[in-house]
């Protein structure tokens, strides 16, 4: 009897494993839904328009970074410098505009250019010097952060000194009582666009394939160095978009902002079901991952749980997500 029951259990488990293997985003989506329901039951304030709006604002910056972080991690890389690139570009946009009177649009585009160049530098170091991405971005994290302190003179630039376009991402419109920032709308559009590109273009396939098996991809005629370069450069551009969102969020440009956002973006990607070993995952998952972290922190805070336990909860989520990934990767035919 018991044996039969055990066998049935195992087959259910194997089926779950196969499902998660085919659709990596299902797990995170279930976690998000469950946590929203649980926190809504724990506190009636959780699902109020004001609170939802707060969560969305808190998630927008890290969520945007996580889009860039996702494509890097899909190639089996990692980007520790994303937060530093974001802060550097936010300072460049704001300071150039406020000091030289450059209008909003060129200032923004200049920031996008700086972000792309920073990303390209990471990509060159990874592909030309063949250094591990962890080491490269650990180095450039410090380089970009130092440049940021030097260029800003460690001074914050106030929003009132900037062209209004730079603050646009912090402006809101109201849907059913919930105030939504343009920054979070931009995040959703960015995720949709990246999901489309990854799924429907040859470049997207090459990103997955390069992360999956670099040498096999090279032998199959993929220009893997070019793929990696384009991934790091695109990620840099996306971090510059995050810089725009950041300026809107804090209504200023601060050289000290976003110090832990690099790790938070990695957390979002990992909780979102993307594998740190590359070749598996989806950008929608990373958005869900960022939302899970936001919902956990916010929900636990509303339930009156101390910040330290919120941090603990996020830590446990990471370990669970990575263990799940290990298990899913063992799937057999």
């Amino acid at each position: 009897m018991t044996v039969v029951v055990e066998e049935r259990d195992r087959s259910v488990l194997t089926r779950v494993q196969h499902l998660l293997h085919a659709q990596a985003t299902i797990g995170p989506a279930v976690v998000l839904l469950t946590s929203v329901i649980v926190f809504a039951l724990l506190s009636e304030r959780f699902l109020t328009p004001g609170n939802i709006s707060l969560i969305l604002q808190q998630v927008a910056v890290v969520g945007t970074l996580a889009v860039g972080q996702t494509i890097v991690i899909l190639t089996a890389g990692i980007d520790l410098s994303c937060g530093a690139i974001m802060v550097l570009t936010s300072i460049v946009m704001a300071k150039v505009a406020s000091e030289t009177g450059l209008p909003g649009l060129p200032a923004l585009l200049l920031g996008f250019l700086v972000g792309t160049v920073c990303g390209l530098l990471n990509g060159m170091l990874v592909t030309r010097l063949k250094l591990p991405p962890f080491i490269v971005t650990l180095g450039t994290l410090n380089v970009f952060f130092a440049l940021n302190l030097w260029y800003s003179g460690s001074a914050t630039i106030r929003g009132t000194d900037m062209p209004s376009l730079l603050l646009f991402t912090g402006q809101t419109f109201t849907v059913g009582g919930t105030r939504i920032t343009y920054g979070s709308i931009m995040l959703v559009l960015l995720v949709a666009a990246m999901a489309f590109v990854l799924k429907n273009t040859a470049w997207g396939r090459h990103v997955y394939s390069t992360g999956d098996d670099l040498e096999a991809s090279r032998l199959s005629g993929i220009r893997t160095a070019r793929v990696l370069l384009s991934v790091y450069a695109t990620a840099g551009l996306i971090y510059a978009v995050a810089a725009w969102t950041l300026i809107g969020r804090i209504a200023s440009a601060s050289p000290q902002a976003g110090q832990t956002d690099n790790l938070d973006s990695i957390t979002a990607v990992v909780i979102g079901g993307t594998s740190l070993f590359g070749g598996r995952g989806a950008v929608v998952g990373s958005l869900i991952g960022a939302l899970i972290v936001g919902v956990f922190r916010n929900g636990l805070a509303l339930a009156g749980v101390d910040v330290l336990w919120q941090t603990m909860a996020v830590g446990v989520l990471i370990i669970v997500a990575v263990s799940l990934d290990q298990w899913i990767r063992k799937v057999k035919a």
Binding site: R205, H206, S209, L219
Partner: protein, 254 residues
Amino acid sequence: MTTPILQATGLVKRYGRVTALAGSDLELLPGEILAVIGDNGAGKSSLIKALSGAVIPDEGEVLLDGSPVSFSTPLDARKAGIETVHQSLAVSPSLDIAANLFLGRELRRKGVLGSVFRMLDRNGMRDEARRQLDALGIMTIQNPGQAVETLSGGQRQAVAVARAAAFGSRVVIMDEPTAALGVRESRAVLDLILQVRDRGLPVILISHNMPHVFEVADRIHIQRLGRRKAVVDPKSISMSDAVAIMTGAMEPPG
């Protein structure tokens, strides 16, 4: 004498203190199946990697249709019409069968969807993949959308072989294409190799399986210690003599 379609002279490849190729030659004539045999580590894979752009030789020359070529990437060789099944198979595990067949040469949709939005013709590639695999008859797959990592070793090999056979336009190179295959599947791959040859494409076949080699090869290139030791005619030499030359137990005739 006919010009070899693919020719290598004096190829040298060193890995640190290991010399994988010590001045190796090779000639592949139009329309032939050239088998390459040799002990483990004799430099067979290194030789065909140099021909397919996977490694850049330290010395020596590769000629395609009599004119020198220097492939710096596998893509260069592929563009010249040389398709290779590597010993490591070179498939991408998390992608599906169709995606692997078309890896690096994806089909795009017709019209703006393809030209502006760069959209892949997913269905087109699936249908074509199914057609190719069915035509080759080396495997029956239910679903070209199945991820390659969920396939058995032999099925993966079939995908790699099918890819080379389907896209080769000048030369097809196969490094131990039957290593992981069962009897029936090996038979199918051998038939496929003959079929490719009958299409007019020359094939380089690396194999440790002497009966296979003697069955399909027009000529046999014997590789030993990083060099070509001899080229023999399978119709005028016995299997045991070929093996003796390969292991160094016997000097090649003539």
